[in-house]
Each structure stands twice: as structure tokens, then as C-alpha cells.
Amino acid sequence: MSELKVERVWKEYGDQIVLEDVSLTVASRAFVALVGPSGCGKSTFLRMLLGQEQPTKGKILLDGQPLPAEPGPDRGVVFQRYSVFPHLTVLGNVLLGKEFSAARYKAKLFGTARRNVIEEARQLIADVGLAGCEGKYPAQLSGGMQQRLALAQALIMKPKVLLLDEPFGALDPGIRAEIHTLMKRLWHETQMTVVMVTHDMREAFTLASHVVAFERRRDRPEEKERYGATITKDISIWPPRLAGQSPVFSPDRDGPVASMGHRRDDLASSGEMQ
């Protein structure tokens, strides 16, 4: 179980109110996409789920327990950039989490202990499609491969919740479609709860089980400081999607996302949303 419950959360920086009265329940094994205009506090909200920032008012519960005040291994994360460590190879990046939990002082594994976890790491690297790249450094990988690596690195900790902050925003449309397929497969296999911030509407509706829209209810310049954004829409995709369950109807709808080129309603991938 990994249910996230956000109860009447406010976030203020000094006089500036960023988020007001946000309440949201993310069911276990759900995939929630957070969408909204730039600067409406989606990323701030994600950072609060991560524990990197604290709500000014209200509380966030994970499985009924208040969230710890700092990031921890129960919540994995993939950022748009800087998610992998440039000084470690692909294998080293994936092993790091295991080494942190197994070797408290040396934070590094040697010999048999290392060989035992390498097997699991290699499996995961192959799962995200990076087999054969184990010895490469991130600088030798393309942007899409780096994000695949970041996913593998987060997944080795088997987090309850995976948080994604525009993880595929910087990728080309073709690469993005491939990584969407991967993301969907990983979500079904691991049965995690996923919360993703995105600008891309198509991405939100392709991947998510719920699309949650953040918006400022009052957005006149003189109101900007005192009124924050809040959740204005919470759309459940129908037929319902749930990690580990194939959809009842039209099972192929959740199959690979073919890139159909740019269309008029596809604002994000042509860059107009940015």
C-alpha cells in the first residue's frame, strides 16, 4: 500500500502565496499527472511530496503517517536534469542506492557483496533498455538514455511512490514516445504510485490514471501575490487504469504510443506550451 493524502495544504514564501487549500488523495498504484500553466506551483507541490520543502499549513500523509521532513528512500525521484551522478558509470549509478543501504560507513561494496547486487542492477539496466552501456559515464549517453538511467537508479530502491518532475520534457518526440512505453511497463510491473509533473497534455492523458490541473482562480496582477493556485480539475481517465491491471476495454489503447507527428491540438510537443 502506498496511498498519498494531501490535506488542505498551503504554501507561502513570505507574503507570496503559491498554493492555497490543496487537497488531494492519490490512491495506491495510481498514476497522477499534475498539469497547469508555468509558475502555478506544480513543482513546488511535488517538492513538498518529496520532503524537500514543507507545507506552510496543512499536512501530507503517506499511508496514514505524516511525511518525514526530508527526502528518503520511500519516495524515488527523477528530475528533468541532474538526476544521475556524472562521476559514476551506468552500473555505479544504479548500484549507489544498494551501496548506501548495505555499507553504512564505507558506502561502497566490495567482493562477494558487490557481485550479489550487481546481478540485480544489471537486470534493471537491461529492463530500461541500457544493456551494454554498464561501463559508460552519463556524459557518453544521450538525454533519453540518461533519463532511463535515472529511472533504473530510482527503481532499485523499490520506492513506494515515484515522483517525476517533467522527466521527459527535454526529449525529442520520438524518444519521448519510446520512454512513455517504458514508463507504462515499469508502472505495471512495479505497481508503484506515481506522481508526475508535466507540461505535455498528451503525455498526461497517455500515461496517467488521473490528470490533476493546478490553476490560479484569481490571476489579475494585483491579486497575484495574495491568491495562490489550487486544484481546479481532477479528471479520472476512463476506462480506469491501475498499475498491474490491463484495461477492461480496448486493451490496445494503452499500447505503445506511436508518434503521429504534430497536430493542431498537440501544443506541447510543438513547444507552444513552454
Binding site: G76, R81, S83, F85, H87, A107, A150, M157
Partner: protein
């Protein structure tokens, strides 16, 4: 073609690299020849033969008084001081720099203090060091440490702070403690910067070493230069200066090689 797009070939690059050195040597040879033609006993610009003679005397003939080969014993004495000073600075800087860069409490405590300390002119402290630590090796090594360490500390702290916050947060979500993150995420990423920083600090380190040796010492490259200055022995001073420069250049190149060999990713990051 625009000038900004014309590039020398490999051969031309090599020739261009050598050109300033050759010109400098030629200028010296002609200047020296002109002065010696006027006055055969001129000491200001000795001939190349004079240099050869002096180098032979210092490097390959034992000194009559001490029985030592002066160039080598001077080099050894200076290098021991320089390397001790640099190693102590490195150890201190790595520890304090990382603590300042990683822990907000220690940053609040130490960063302003180090910033002020690094503004104290080290040479102005030299008399104090001589008074407190005596005229031996300790005061000379201490001068190098005082001169070099604050700069390295500030640079490493900056580098540790520059690491993207995302990386640190990611490491936390992988279950890393402060110690583990320091050891596996921060330390390996500031070590290449440490080596680069050491290279840049070689100049100041030599400056402080020679200053200390000039004032009080009985051996060392700086001591020798300032000793023979009394006799206007340009034939000794010039080779010593060239020798010191050569040592510094080699150390600089070795450190860069070391960085690329030990941290290959730091070179990849640069190209990316």
C-alpha cells in the same frame, strides 16, 4: 576566409609554440654577446659557456665546504618544504571546504572567517611566524599553508555548493546519510577541482617558499639565488630560475595528467 576560422596545422602549431622561446633565447644570446664584446668581464649577461660552467660546478662537482652537490641538495630542500606545505594545505582544505560546502551550520560559522583570513597578506605574517615558530622548517611550511590553504578552501566550498541540488536530493532518496553523500557524491566530484586548484596555487606556493628561504635558510633554491646575488652571479641565478620554472611546469603537467587518469569522467563532462 575570416581570421577567426583559420587554424594552424599540427606542424605550424608546434613551430608557433616554440617561436617565443627561441626568440627569447636568441635575444639573450645577442645581448650577451654585445655586452661581452664591450667588456669581457661583464657579469650582467653571462655567455652560454658561462652558464654551462656554472651548472657543471653546481650540479656535478661536490661543494668544497659541505661535500654536497649544491643544485641537488637545494632542490631537495626546497621540494620537501613545498610538497609538505601543499600536502598539509590540501588535507586542511579538503576537510574544511567540504564541511563548509555541505553543512549550513558550519558554513555560517566558518565561511566569513575564512573569507577574512584569506585576505591577510601572508608575507606580512612571515615575521610573526619566524618569531613564534623559529627560523626552521616549520615557519616556512606554515607560510605556504597560510598562503595557499584559504584560497583552496573557498574554491572547494564553492564547488561543493555548486553541485546541483537535484543530485543531493536524489542521493537522499537513495537512502544516503550526510556522511555517505559526502563520501560518494560530493567528495569524488570536488577532487578534480582540487587538482586544478592545486595547479593554480603552484605559483603562489613557490612565491611564499622563495620569500621564506630568501630571508632565513641555509639551503634551498631561493636561499641560493639570494646568496649569490651579493656576488652578482648571474651565471648561477639564471639557471636556478630556469630550473625552478621547469619544476613548476612539470608539476603542473603531471597534476593535469593525474586528474584525467583518475577522473576520466571530468574530462568527458568538459567536452559534453
Amino acid at each position: 576566409m575570416r581570421w577567426i576560422n583559420t587554424r594552424p596545422s599540427r606542424g605550424a602549431q608546434f613551430a608557433l609554440m616554440l617561436l617565443p622561446f627561441v626568440l627569447l633565447a636568441l635575444a639573450y644570446v645577442f645581448g650577451s654577446a654585445a655586452r661581452l664584446a664591450e667588456n669581457a668581464n661583464d657579469k650582467l649577461l653571462p655567455s652560454l659557456a658561462g652558464f654551462a660552467d656554472a651548472i657543471n660546478r653546481l650540479a656535478f662537482v661536490a661543494d668544497q665546504r659541505t661535500g654536497e652537490f649544491l643544485l641537488w641538495s637545494d632542490t631537495a630542500a626546497s621540494l620537501i618544504r613545498l610538497l609538505s606545505g601543499l600536502s598539509i594545505s590540501t588535507a586542511i582544505a579538503l576537510l574544511i571546504g567540504m564541511l563548509i560546502g555541505m553543512l549550513p551550520y558550519l558554513r555560517a560559522l566558518l565561511a566569513p572567517f575564512i573569507a577574512v583570513i584569506s585576505m591577510v597578506p601572508p608575507l606580512a605574517l612571515l615575521p610573526i611566524l619566524f618569531i613564534v615558530l623559529g627560523l626552521g622548517e616549520t615557519s616556512k611550511i606554515a607560510l605556504i599553508v597560510i598562503g595557499v590553504a584559504p584560497t583552496i578552501i573557498r574554491d572547494l566550498a564553492l564547488k561543493a555548493l555548486e553541485l546541483p541540488r537535484e543530485q543531493i536530493v536524489k542521493a537522499e532518496t537513495l537512502g544516503g546519510s550526510s556522511w555517505q553523500i559526502g563520501l560518494r557524491v560530493v567528495l569524488p566530484q570536488i577532487l578534480p577541482r582540487l587538482i586544478t586548484c592545486l595547479r593554480l596555487q603552484l605559483g603562489p606556493a613557490w612565491l611564499f617558499l622563495i620569500a621564506a628561504e630568501a630571508i632565513s635558510s641555509d639551503s634551498g633554491l631561493g636561499y641560493r639565488i639570494f646568496l649569490v646575488r651579493r656576488y652578482l652571479s648571474m651565471d648561477v641565478i639564471f639557471p636556478y630560475v630556469v630550473w625552478i620554472t621547469l619544476i613548476a611546469v612539470v608539476m603542473n603537467a603531471l597534476l593535469d595528467r593525474l586528474r584525467i587518469a583518475v577522473f576520466p569522467w571530468s574530462e568527458l563532462e568538459k567536452q559534453a
